[in-house]
């Protein structure tokens, strides 16, 4: 199935940063929504969908990574943070609501790169959600020698940790030290003396830069998922480019389109 804009139904939505959850007072609101859509059938880990706000004063679709794909039952899960008007609208959606989405977009993580390798998956903050489907797919394929997960959180609001623990051990880092290693995902690597041949990661830019340096120093291949403000989501507008080391085959300049050529890039290929 190619890229399509489709009507879809909200199956369920709940707030992960609910009452009694530590960290809610910091203002981070994180939501967990399941959507019913055929697009789930060939969704790949690391791909994203665009959701169109219904308030037409917010014109552009919002790119949101796929957290989980139930391919058999045709359902996609997204876990997102309320960051502005669009995501605020999404947070009010309820089971049964009809919404429009465009998907599945982007390249996704290269599962074949994990074959016979020791893989560490790293997610930081709102970069954690795509790690869940990646972890599931790597487990299912069973070709990696070993898969470990490191999740970096701001505070004790450890969203998706339990979901990921169903598929493997999860090392946690928190900035405030309220759980796991105090610090960031790279501090976990040092503290636990973890070794990786392949790193697959999504998170804030400083984290991705640190992973890029780590991969250079340790000879590990790092696949990082990038983010940028997007308009079309399909590679036409050239809004969401990242600088590349070599001339890009499509653009013929040192710019690749994050929406189409990415969002996942080999760290050594991009200038971040």
């Amino acid at each position: 199935m190619g890229k399509k804009k489709v009507k879809t139904k909200v199956v369920s939505q709940r707030e992960l940063s609910g009452k009694g959850t530590e960290g809610r007072e910091t203002g981070e609101r994180i939501y967990d929504m399941w959507l019913e859509t055929d697009l789930a059938g060939d969704a790949r880990a690391g791909q994203f969908i665009c959701i169109y706000p219904q308030d037409k004063s917010t014109l552009l679709p919002r790119p949101i990574s796929i957290c989980e794909a139930d391919r058999e039952n045709g359902r996609l899960r997204i876990v997102y943070r309320v960051a502005g008007k669009g995501t605020k609208e999404f947070s009010h959606y309820k089971a049964g609501d009809d919404i429009e989405i465009l998907g599945c977009l982007g390249n996704g993580f290269p599962l074949e790169a994990a074959e016979g390798k020791r893989v560490i998956i790293m997610g930081g903050g709102i970069g954690i959600p795509p790690m869940l489907q990646l972890l599931k797919d790597l487990r299912e394929e069973g070709k990696a020698e070993d898969v470990k997960v490191i999740a970096g959180y701001r505070n004790g609001q450890l969203f998706l940790k339990e979901d990921m623990e169903k598929y493997g051990d999860v090392y946690v880092a928190t900035e405030d030290g309220s759980a796991g290693t105090k610090g960031n995902v790279m501090d976990v690597i040092a503290a636990e003396a973890l070794q990786a041949d392949v790193v697959m990661a999504c998170g804030p830019m400083p984290m991705l830069r640190a992973i890029r340096s780590y991969s250079g120093e340790h000879g590990a291949k790092a696949y990082i998922s990038l983010e940028e403000r997007m308009a079309c989501g399909v590679g036409a507008c050239l809004g969401c480019v990242c600088r590349t080391k070599k001339e890009d085959a499509h653009s013929h300049v040192k710019n690749a389109r994050i929406c189409t050529d990415g969002p996942v890039f080999l760290a050594e290929d991009v200038d971040i």
């Binding site: 804009k5 169109y52 014109l59 552009l60 403000r229 036409a236 050239l238 013929h252």
Partner: protein, 300 residues
Amino acid sequence: MNTKVKIAGVEFKNPVMTASGTFGSGMEYAEFVDLNKLGAVVTKGVANVPWEGNPAPRVAEVYGGMLNAIGLQNPGVDVLIERDIPFLQQYDTKIIVNVCGKTVEDYLEVVEKLGDTAADMLEINVSCPNVKEGAIAFGQKADCLYDITSEIKKKAKQPVIMKLSPNVTDIAEMAKAAEAAGADALSMINTITGMKIDIHKRKCVLANKTGGLSGPAIKPVAVRMVYQASRAVKIPVIGMGGISCAEDAIEFLMAGASAVAVGAMNFVNPYVTMEIAEGIEEYMRKYGIEEISGLKIDDL
């Protein structure tokens, strides 16, 4: 009923085109849109050599529209000729190549290279607000616009559309200057220069600081300018700026446009161009209008 329109001798099956820069070279949207159903595909602006464009962030949403400062990133005219024009030739639609440059010589080089290609028309971008040298300067002063238009007309084998900037005091004066220099048609409006500040980060959202405003927010400005320009000249005007549905397109045709182009709304609804072509037909059927030109209201 007949939806065909003729502009500078080129016949289009319907008056709906894509606005340059919002549709790539057609390839990216061919997954959604049957390009055979469009009057024309207008390609992303192309220069004599590849351009890197501006740093990111290049786009920002604003109320009812968006700002962009792509900076005319493009792979250069040679790639367009080898890759993009042959792709578009597979479809039964007209090909309009948008041309950009920093100097008059840049423009002329592109225009000459396109001379023997299947491009049906050339649209000359003298109105991009996001590149510092050349470009918009040519479109903001009537005498500069006159000069570049006449230079291009000397070399161009295809009919020439001059794409005008709304960032001027008197659009009619600009339209007349282009017409006097021999332009075969005009297109308008390009984006309106704007800015957005992130009050939490205390800096501009776009890396380029300023960008071009497009989307429904600019439609009334565009309709007004198409109205003023089309009534100041005899050459056809292709109208664009915030068209999001057939009703919007009809407004432009009533104001005096001979055809329309759809831009930012492709990002909101990838099927919008086809829907607009169908919607115009439906409107004509409903009101018994035989020709697209019959939509124009002379005594508006």
